[in-house]
């Protein structure tokens, strides 16, 4: 068993605000093996984004507070890392794609400057100019990307001096703007931007939402992170652009072979991208397992109801199946299992005792992630309508 890129153990995050303490994330345990895409789905306000931002410790603390738990990234517990050292982990260690592409690019800088900054940080860390978090084996693998054929001009202009000797000289030189430009262009092409030379000199407000999200993805990738966290990268985009960005993400997942935590509220999106899937409800992970397994035989009543309420294309299905009741307030959680007021399987024990921790309910042969659910009656879920 290889060491996981990220292991979250019993992570709990609270928001302490005037109205009370909100338990945004409670007792979440999750591992991301190298090269695996782990999806997290859940309703709005179930703590998905809090979880995403708590991993690289991007949450403003206060009001947020990591109450307990560990976030072990490549063997280091990030919760214990002093805040002044956290920038070393970000960018090159953990990269992030945010859900608001419209506001996530600095409006005052050209696209080139934004991506070049991320690239420069990586170079400085690689060369030891900036202190860097000790990374494990690089899970980024560009070898599977088809290399473009050299053009005639490139072949003709190749130097007579052997490449290695030239590189040795070049290594001592300061990188010029042209070097950065070349590298930025490479990343822009990686995210399928047509005419990258023009895009370079534009400001973010001159680009569409889909383009900006591509730039964000390019920025995140240009740090060559060991772990990429995509926090609803397609949510703020309209459906057509969503499909394009999703296609890009899927292609990139194959190309860069990265470990990705993919957060979404859209089951369809996660089904297409993720290998493993976690389902969150009211700050807790209620089910975790291989995607196909969860979609075919959900073992938590919430997952089951959630899958049932995906709209189909037939009008005759009206009214759409819904889950009765509403999401509990995170500051006044119901006693016992958090889902029991809305659960059709609920028994007295569900209201009295907290839900059990995730337990194994099924194993896919040949796959190292077991199917786990946090329900007393996981075996009975299959019988539900």
């Amino acid at each position: 068993m290889t060491q996981p890129v990220l292991a979250i153990e019993n992570l709990s995050v609270d928001y302490e605000v005037g109205a009370g303490v909100f338990h945004a994330v409670s007792d979440i345990s999750l591992t991301i093996p190298p090269g695996r895409v782990v999806g997290i789905v859940g309703e709005t306000g179930c703590g998905k984004s809090t979880l995403a931002q708590a991993i690289p410790r991007l949450l403003p603390e206060p009001p947020a507070r990591i109450r307990r738990g560990k976030v072990i990234f490549q063997g280091t517990d990030l919760v214990k890392v002093p805040r002044s050292k956290l920038p070393m982990v970000r960018g090159t260690g953990i990269g992030m794609i945010f859900q608001e592409p419209l506001n996530s690019l600095n409006p005052a800088f050209r696209i080139f400057d934004q991506i070049a900054e991320a690239i420069q940080i990586r170079h400085w860390r690689e060369e030891g100019i900036l202190p860097s978090f000790r990374p494990g084996p690089q899970p980024f693998d560009y070898s599977r990307r088809p290399t473009p054929m050299p053009t005639a001009a490139e072949v003709l202009s190749k130097p007579v001096v052997p490449g290695a000797a030239k590189e040795a000289v070049a290594k001592r030189q300061v990188r010029t703007r042209a070097d950065f430009r070349r590298e930025v262009l490479e990343y822009l092409r990686l995210v399928r931007i047509n005419d990258p030379e023009t895009i370079l000199n534009l400001y973010p407000h001159e680009l569409s939402g889909g383009m900006r999200q591509r730039i964000m993805i390019a920025m995140a990738l240009s740090g060559k992170p060991a772990l990429l966290i995509a926090d609803e990268p397609t949510s703020a985009l309209d459906v057509t652009i969503q499909a394009q960005v999703l296609t890009l993400m899927k292609e990139l997942i194959d190309e860069v072979h990265a470990s990705i935590l993919y957060i979404s509220h859209d089951l369809g999106v996660v089904a297409e991208t993720a290998d493993d899937l976690g389902v969150m409800y009211a700050g807790r992970l209620v089910e975790l397992g291989p995607v196909a397994e969860i979609f075919e035989s959900p073992r938590h009543p919430y997952t089951k109801s959630l899958l049932r309420s995906i709209p189909t294309r037939y009008k005759s299905d009206w009214p759409m199946p819904t889950i009765p009741g509403s999401v509990p307030n995170l500051s006044q959680l119901p006693k016992g299992c958090r889902f029991h007021p809305r659960c059709s399987l609920a028994r007295p024990i569900c209201a009295q005792e907290p839900a059990p921790p995730l337990r194994v309910v099924g194993v896919t042969p040949g796959y190292d992630t077991p199917h786990r659910a946090a329900c007393h009656f996981a075996e009975e879920v299959a019988a539900l309508p």
Binding site: L58, F98, N103, S104, L105, A108, T151, H205, M219
Partner: protein, 360 residues
């Protein structure tokens, strides 16, 4: 097969490289267009340029623009005494005073000093107050070292803001003593707190925006986020305020001089406020209107030109309005060259047949 090669060639085809030309030309052209799009800004820009050039000339060689020494009694020895207190004429455009001083010479000679005071004091307030405001706004979490520093800065600012700045400046001048440096120091001490407040407010608004979080997520350190990402987005309103403030400083300094605490006049270094102060106390405004009018107009024009420029500077600093203004103006860059027609993949015979069929 053929079309694939062609399309790759199009992607990799080098553009006509004139990178350095565009990098120099683009901001210049953009600036020019913004100026064209907004005539008032253009007027402010022209006025400020004239003022600055004039100030430099006065410093280098006053005799180029000014016929007389500041304290030279122009008429005493050359003209009959009746020519004292002359109204504006061709020989003395702004008239002469009771001692025969050429007011035009005095007003123009005062330009470098007044301009230096205005830009210097406002600049000091911008740098000092701005830096404190950045710190106070960016590291303001309670129960941390930054939070403590921030609290100290803000409470100190509050103490200064509790007094009207003019009254405080006068009090300082009264305690240090008369003179140019006392007046400058007094205004400097009272001027920076406004910038702390302004910059802090802007930083607070900017620092939780998604792009700052995104920069943080990219591994950028706090100090660099502050000096690059936050500062650049805060700059715009602050610089505008700064240009508007130059005029305000000038007026305040003139007020202090006017009250009589600044630079003595008549004296070796003329200053607009002190000139007005001296003349208004001793001579009838209705009879000798030119004594006080021209120094006042000089103050007004300087303040106005910087204000006009400041208004337009906001548009220049914001990439969004800059581009919009540049494109709204009548001037456009020549259209970009179309890619060569070879880039269009040759159609297959089947397609051509279809097209012909449609045509007929």
């Amino acid at each position: 097969m053929a079309s694939a090669t062609v399309s790759r060639a199009r992607v990799a085809a080098p553009r006509p490289s004139s990178a350095w030309v565009t990098s120099v030309r683009r901001p210049v052209v953009g600036f020019y267009r913004v100026m064209r799009a907004n005539p008032l800004t253009f007027a402010g820009f022209v006025l400020v340029t004239i003022t600055l050039v004039l100030a430099v000339i006065v410093i280098v060689d006053p005799s180029l623009v000014v016929p007389y020494q500041a304290t030279q009694n122009t008429g005493v020895y050359k003209e009959p005494p009746t020519l004292f207190k002359w109204p504006p004429s061709i020989a003395h455009p702004f008239g002469t005073d009771q001692a025969g001083l050429d007011i035009y010479s005095a007003v123009v000679r005062a330009l470098p000093l007044d301009l230096g005071i205005g830009i210097g004091i406002a600049g000091f307030a911008l740098v000092a107050g701005g830096a404190l405001g950045l710190i106070a706004g960016f590291w303001d979490e309670p129960r941390t070292l930054g939070g403590a520093v921030s609290t100290i800065i803000l409470r100190t600012t509050d103490i200064f803001l509790a007094f009207p700045s003019l009254v405080l400046a006068l009090a300082i001048v009264a305690s240090i003593g008369r003179g140019i440096w006392a007046a400058v120091l007094a205004i400097m001490i009272t001027w920076w707190p406004y910038y702390v407040r302004l910059v802090r407010g802007e930083v607070l608004a900017v620092k939780h925006l998604p792009y700052v979080t995104a920069a943080r997520a990219a591994g950028v350190r706090d100090t660099r986020i502050l000096t690059r990402h936050v500062l650049r987005n805060v700059l715009e309103p602050v610089v505008v305020y700064f240009t508007l403030d130059i005029g305000t400083v000038l007026v305040t300094f003139s007020t202090i001089s006017f009250i009589g605490a600044g630079i003595p006049w008549p004296g070796p270094s003329p200053e607009w406020g002190s000139m007005m102060s001296f003349y208004q106390g001793r001579f009838l405004l209705s009879q000798y209107w030119w004594y006080i009018t021209f120094p006042a107009i000089a103050i007004f024009m300087t303040a106005l030109s910087f204000s006009l420029l400041g208004d337009g500077l906001r548009d220049v600093l914001d990439p969004r309005t800059r581009r919009a203004l540049a494109e709204s103006s009548a001037f456009h860059e020549p259209p970009q060259e179309e890619p060569p027609s070879a880039a269009i993949p040759p159609s297959t015979p089947a397609e051509e047949e279809q097209r012909e069929a449609q045509a007929t």
